[in-house]
């Protein structure tokens, strides 16, 4: 198991190199001059030329990229062109807010999706199943930003204690982990949660439907196990792998910053910071941010893969072999 995890962490390296190269290339090719951005509109052409030389912007493309990588390896993510503050600190200070929002929306998503998915599967083609399936389709296909805006208009505006945006801090843990008020997190969490709920519900339903037809479910029934226990103990534990996979993927996406939802609700998370930085061409932030998201995503995936071993003993045996 240990060696498996080590191998997976090692595999992170080429992924990060690939991602960083891609982002760097895109940012390099995009219009706009970082030097003039740093110096502001008043700067003279001479000042800009000097700044370009200072920033190494006249070096060949690969040399610039190499310099970035070299600094990254040392843990130096550079300074933001806009605020001049350390990029790593900026991102990490926003990350807890994104984590809080992610957890809140996943609680909503899982809380709705898994029970409905199970009921829909056990009562296939019933009215409950049809209603749930249609709602799930609706959840998946509804654009997040639109749902967010509708919730703001429909709920936040008329209801007093629910703000239309921003994060109201209820209390702070360990200096920088801020716990938001229920009122301020509920709408963004619902917005993010419905999409995820739709996907998770559909996966739960189809996975359960496949499992309840298996022979071992009949074996369990033949033992005199009650229907409730058959579903909860025998069917669900076998249906869990695909469910955990989609939950993990959703979790990874959201942790990377739910870009649209965070923007709509002015949530001070990583996603919104990224959008702002792209708008201002704040190159160091964008590159570091994308690398950060990619790392978080792969780490969540690794975590999911490890979780598989605890769900399915066959996979555990597979890991031990490899």
């Amino acid at each position: 198991m240990g060696s498996y995890i080590f191998k997976r962490v090692l595999a992170l390296v080429p992924i990060l190199i690939g991602v960083s190269f891609l982002v760097f290339t895109i940012m390099h090719l995009s219009p706009g001059d970082p030097a003039s951005l740093v110096l502001g509109e008043q700067a003279t052409a001479e000042q800009i030329a000097q700044k370009r030389e200072e920033m190494g912007l006249n070096d060949p493309f690969l040399v610039q990229y190499g310099n970035y990588v070299f600094k990254y390896v040392q843990g130096d993510f550079g300074q933001s062109y806009v605020s001049n503050r350390d990029v790593a600190t900026e991102i990490l200070s926003r990350f807890p807010n994104t984590v809080t929002l992610t957890i809140a929306s996943m609680i909503i998503a899982i809380g709705i999706a898994i029970p409905t998915g199970i009921i829909a599967a056990t009562k296939q083609y019933s009215i409950t199943d049809n209603v749930a399936t249609v709602l799930a389709l609706l959840g998946v296909s509804m654009p997040n930003f639109w749902l967010g805006l509708m919730l703001i208009i429909g709920i936040a505006v008329p209801v007093q204690f629910i703000p239309t945006g921003g994060m109201k801090v209820a209390y702070t843990l360990f200096g920088n982990i801020k716990i938001p008020t229920l009122g301020s997190i509920i709408l963004p969490a619902i917005t993010l949660g419905t999409g995820a709920a739709g996907i998770i519900m559909r996966m739960t339903r189809s996975s359960m439907l496949e499992v309840v037809r298996q022979d071992y479910i009949r074996t369990a029934r033949a033992k005199g196990v009650s229907e409730k226990v058959v579903i909860r103990k025998h069917a669900l534990s076998n249906a869990l792998i695909p469910i955990v996979t989609v939950v993990g993927l959703q979790f990874g996406y959201l942790l990377g910053g739910a870009v649209l939802t965070e923007s709509v609700f002015s949530w001070p998370g990583v996603g919104r910071y990224m959008v702002d930085s792209i708008k201002t061409r704040d190159m160091p932030v964008v590159i570091a941010g994308v690398i950060f998201m990619a790392s978080v995503f792969t780490i969540v995936n690794l975590f999911v893969d490890i979780l598989y071993a605890y769900i399915d003993p066959r996979i555990k045996a597979e890991y031990k072999k490899g």
Partner: protein, 337 residues
């Protein structure tokens, strides 16, 4: 004392899919005494497994339904229960404790994410809470020849034959009075088959369990059973003791079955298969359901559904020719246009 354990009366089971009715079981009568081993033989699709599931009260509904008849089960406390007309709670009490079942495919019949020990002890925990389930499960493992140290291992760590033995351990964990074995050896190698059958025989003697042995392997029947019922298109067309059916075969279908197995004594170039296929259960032939495939079929067979005809106290068959009735004698041979 009445020693009938299971009494199936005029059982009919149908599956309805998209408005089309599949008549899987069409009025079977069957009695099983305590400690008796009855073989149920038939081709694929003859309704053997459906009959077994009906006895367990496990016909998947929808699409399946018992449309007629009853299955009376009398347990050791002389309590009579009709499995077709009983509430779910009582059914759960019987399943796994009084009647249990061994399934056809050992590879897929065990829960892959649960340790085999937990799977064996589950039934005991439900039905016999006073027993130490873990100890019982370990005893059962030893009994079927698997070291009890392997209690915590998972199904994928066992071979097919061992899995089948684990399934037998599950089925026998609560010492049921009736064990239904649905093709318990079909999926196994011949050498393992013999092992499993011997073991089942031993266990039967040890616990005095009655068995319903479902198979299409006449050799397995000869090795294990007291009585034999031959099923065709959802009906029992011949029933008798092992000797009746094997030495005094009457029904043309049963004869066909025996002719389809190679004999070691006779020099035969070719086996004689029964021509044609099992009839489509959504569209069964009229009269005798075997008539389209029967070499003795006459026009009467197309019109009259044969009744049970007793040859002696233990042996009956459903065939107009065996019956020798006038309608059969007087009607013409069906000519194949």
């Amino acid at each position: 004392m009445n020693d009938t354990l299971l009494d199936i009366k005029d059982l009919e089971v149908q599956y309805v899919v998209d408005g089309e009715i599949t008549r899987a079981v069409n009025g079977i009568n069957l009695k099983l005494k305590k400690g008796e081993v009855l073989g149920l033989v038939g081709e694929t699709g003859a309704g053997k497994t459906t009959t077994a599931l009906a006895i367990m009260g496990l016909i998947p509904n929808p699409p399946g339904k018992v449309t007629k008849g009853n299955i009376n089960f009398t347990n050791s406390e002389n309590m009579k229960i009709d499995i077709c007309n009983v509430n779910n709670k009582a059914l759960l009490d019987i399943r796994g404790s009084k009647i249990s079942m061994i399934f056809q495919d050992p590879m897929t019949s065990l829960n892959p994410v649960m340790s085999i020990g937990d799977q064996i002890k589950e039934g005991v925990e439900i039905h016999q809470p006073e027993v130490n389930a873990k100890e019982r499960a370990k005893e059962m493992l030893e009994l079927v020849g698997i070291p009890k140290e392997r209690f915590n291992e998972y199904p994928h760590q066992f071979s097919g034959g061992m899995k089948q033995r684990i399934i037998i351990a599950i089925a026998l964990a609560c010492t049921p009075e009736l064990l239904i074995a649905d093709e318990p050896t079909t999926a196994l190698d011949v050498t393992i088959q013999a092992q499993v059958l011997d073991m089942m025989k031993d266990l039967k003697i040890k616990f005095n369990t009655a068995m319903l042995m479902i198979t299409h392997d006449l050799g397995v029947i000869a090795k294990t059973c007291d009585n034999v019922a031959i099923m065709y298109a959802g009906e029992i067309i011949e029933y008798g003791t092992l000797r009746d059916v094997y030495k005094n075969t009457q029904h043309p279908y049963t004869m066909g079955l025996f002719n389809s197995i190679p004999s070691i004594d006779k020099v035969e170039k070719r086996l004689k298969p029964i021509k044609g296929l099992t009839p489509d259960a959504t569209n069964l032939p009229s009269g005798c359901k075997f008539h389209p495939r029967c070499e003795f079929a006459r026009e009467a067979c197309r019109e009259i559904a044969p009744k049970e005809y007793n040859l002696n106290e233990t042996h009956y068959t459903k065939c107009l020719k065996v019956e020798g009735c006038n309608e059969y004698k007087e009607s013409r041979v069906i000519d194949d246009e």
